[in-house]
Amino acid sequence: MAAASTETAIRSSRFARVLIYLVLLLFALFYLLPLGIMVVNSLKPLSEITGGNMVALPRDWTIAPWLSAWSTAQIGVEPTGLRPYFINSIVMAVPAVMLSTIVGALNGYVLTKWHFRGATIIFGLLLFSCFIPFQIVLIPMARILGILDIAGTTSGLILVHFVYGIGFTTLYFRNYYAAFPTELVRAAQIDGAGFFQIFWRIMLPSSGPIIAVSFIWQFTNIWNDFLFGASFASGGSAPMTVALNNLVNSSTGVREYNVHFAGAIMAAAPTLLVYIVAGRYFVRGLMAGSVKG
């Protein structure tokens, strides 16, 4: 937050400052390197990649790989490119993020402002769910989706992501609301405001930063998921990561690396955008909430 840093108490010498900038820039370079390689190679013809230095700049610049990855590359038997799967991912991610965020907010509100016996244990139980390895849920989850008759559909996938997102969102909101003055809630109660009124009128309006954190975290996790997407959404409703994997991981065919990189950047674009646009709120939200334990 710019406002706070302008009056930081730490002072440093000129030499130290140069050193600081140098270190920061070196690290920036390190963080950017893989993305840089991807961008550079997505703009080369394939022959330049297989025939030479993969880190060098393109000699012939081309955007053909991007066009191919987007609309003509072979994902399955149809040469559709990644375009249709992009929509699938959005249709899946948006409801799942919203649902888990709403439920997480309500849970956090209850756990901090409506103390009752056993609340702490329930929170502990919810929190531990963040740590379950997803590989073990595959088979039993498939069975349950089958019973509910939503196997192989986007709704099924939304349910799965919603379920395994609750733990994280509850954690975020609980920690955020823990710092929220309880007196305000009590005062509203005395004024006769109900459970949902307080949530709606008092809690939610001040939850901006933590909603941003929850949104970023959930959106990134859900968008990047491969295991659930591949297992619970078939063919036409497959999300972007499954399509990308089909593009990149074909086992015994010719590998068009330039197209692969273009596709990978496309698949990553929404999460990148979210981090860049909402990144400032991320630190703010963390600051207000989750790191305060």
């Binding site: 498939a142 989706l145 994997n245 089909n246 015994t252 065919g253 010719v254």
Partner: protein, 416 residues
């Protein structure tokens, strides 16, 4: 039975001929997603579409089909099995043992599959004497791919024995080339190992060790010899082999940086794609020591039990289309493999394809056709992967040959 057979046949024919039925559909799980392969599968879809049958595509690439098998388990557990699934070797048998696969016997009898599909393949396409899968192709895995120009430059002729093969690699190494292009992934090492076992011990030994899993054979001196040959191969690969994808190894041969690569026939596509033709710019021959035998893997479409009658009809129509000579030719021309049917004329195939088809027929007739361990056609996935662990550990220098043979016995025992 004949009633059933007739009924099936009528349904199948109906399915092929009808143009109206909109609800008819097959859902196909496969991992053929790269450009050429996917286009080749597309021809199957077109054939079915001409018969009014829709194609619900469900591609899941990755891990040589292992990701697709994970997805399949999720689907079957959910009670929502696809109509047809691309499958390899023992997986077909495992699913059949679960009672999950459909019975294709009447169609197979009508079209005489038993007469045109080699017995070694039928071992996988049938379970308990019944047809459960339609084989698409045969990949043979004991090929050496060589750069003709480099061979000429080094004065090397096609080696016909293990000693000549080693001598040729020595020449290349001495001249500063990479003698053997190799990608250090477990399955690639296992692919070479198949040929080393076959070369060191011959067909009977291969059968005893890799298929029957006889502990005496697995721990024998012959097995130590096979591991020694692996160590010899190891001394001719470059320093950077670890983790390399197979196609990058192929590129080394294409670019003339490396002399040989031991790899299955899918490597051919890379050469062709680079504008080279079989027999001219590049050559293919059997791994010296394995001549007269073929180790193979075979992609098949396993047909799952579907309840709905029109789905069953579509399924049979698809099986029929897969087995049609036209599809077998179209698909395999693209894929680099050879047709699963042995009654198909080879004139459309290139030099390597023709050679492969002739040798396949020959091996099938003489009993020299063996499932590849590396590709899941010699033993179950658990044993196969346990062998991978030992082979790759030895190749990476963790065991000497004698220890490796001993470890192989233990690993196979735990995995069974």
């Amino acid at each position: 039975m004949t009633m059933m057979k007739k009924l099936h046949m009528t349904v199948a024919v109906l399915a092929l001929s009808t143009t109206a039925a909109a609800a008819q559909e097959v859902e196909v799980l496969h991992w053929w997603t790269s450009g050429g392969e996917a286009a080749a599968v597309g021809t199957l879809r077109d054939t079915l579409a001409a018969g009014g049958i829709g194609w619900q595509d469900m591609p899941v690439a990755g891990g040589g089909g292992s990701d697709a098998m994970t997805v399949l388990r999720a689907r079957v557990t959910a009670g929502d099995a696809p109509t047809a699934v691309q499958m390899l070797g023992f997986s077909i048998q495992d699913w059949a043992a679960e009672g999950a696969l459909a019975n294709l016997d009447s169609l197979a009898a009508d079209q005489g599959w038993a007469d045109v599909v080699p017995a070694a393949l039928q071992r996988f396409s049938t379970y308990d004497g019944s047809w459960v899968a339609a084989p698409v192709n045969v990949h043979s895995t004991n090929w050496v791919w060589a750069n003709t120009a480099l061979m000429a430059e080094l004065g090397i002729t096609q080696p016909t024995s293990w000693e000549e093969f080693v001598a040729a690699m020595e020449t290349a190494k001495a001249a500063g080339y990479t003698a053997l292009a190799h990608g250090g992934q477990a399955w690639q090492e296992a692919t070479m190992f198949d040929s080393m076992v076959m070369g060191a011990g011959g067909p009977d030994f291969y059968q005893a060790a890799m298929v029957d899993l006889d502990p005496a054979a697995l721990g024998s001196d012959t097995m130590v010899e096979a591991f020694d040959r692996m160590a010899t191969l190891r001394s001719y690969v470059d320093d950077n082999f670890s983790g390399r994808d197979w196609n990058l190894a192929t590129a080394m041969v294409i670019n003339g940086d490396a002399l040989f690569q031991i790899m299955g026939d899918w490597a051919k596509g890379e050469f062709v794609n680079a504008g080279m033709t079989a027999g001219n710019e590049f050559q293919c021959f059997r791994v010296p020591g394995t001549e007269g035998t073929v180790t193979f893997n075979s992609d098949q479409f396993a047909m799952f039990n579907v309840a709905d009658e029109s789905d069953q009809a579509s399924q049979l129509a698809m099986a029929s289309a897969v087995m049609s000579p036209e599809f077998q030719v179209t698909f395999n021309l693209v894929k680099g493999s050879v047709p699963a049917r042995t009654d198909i004329p080879s004139d459309q195939f290139d030099a390597c394809g023709q050679l492969g088809m002739a040798q396949l027929a020959e091996a099938a007739a003489s009993g020299g056709l063996f499932g590849s361990m590396a590709h899941g056609h010699a033993n179950t996935p658990s044993v196969q992967n346990a062998m991978y662990d030992v082979i790759t550990a030895h190749f990476n220098g963790e065991y000497d040959a004698a220890t490796a043979a001993a470890e192989l016995v233990t690993a196979v025992e735990i995995a069974q």
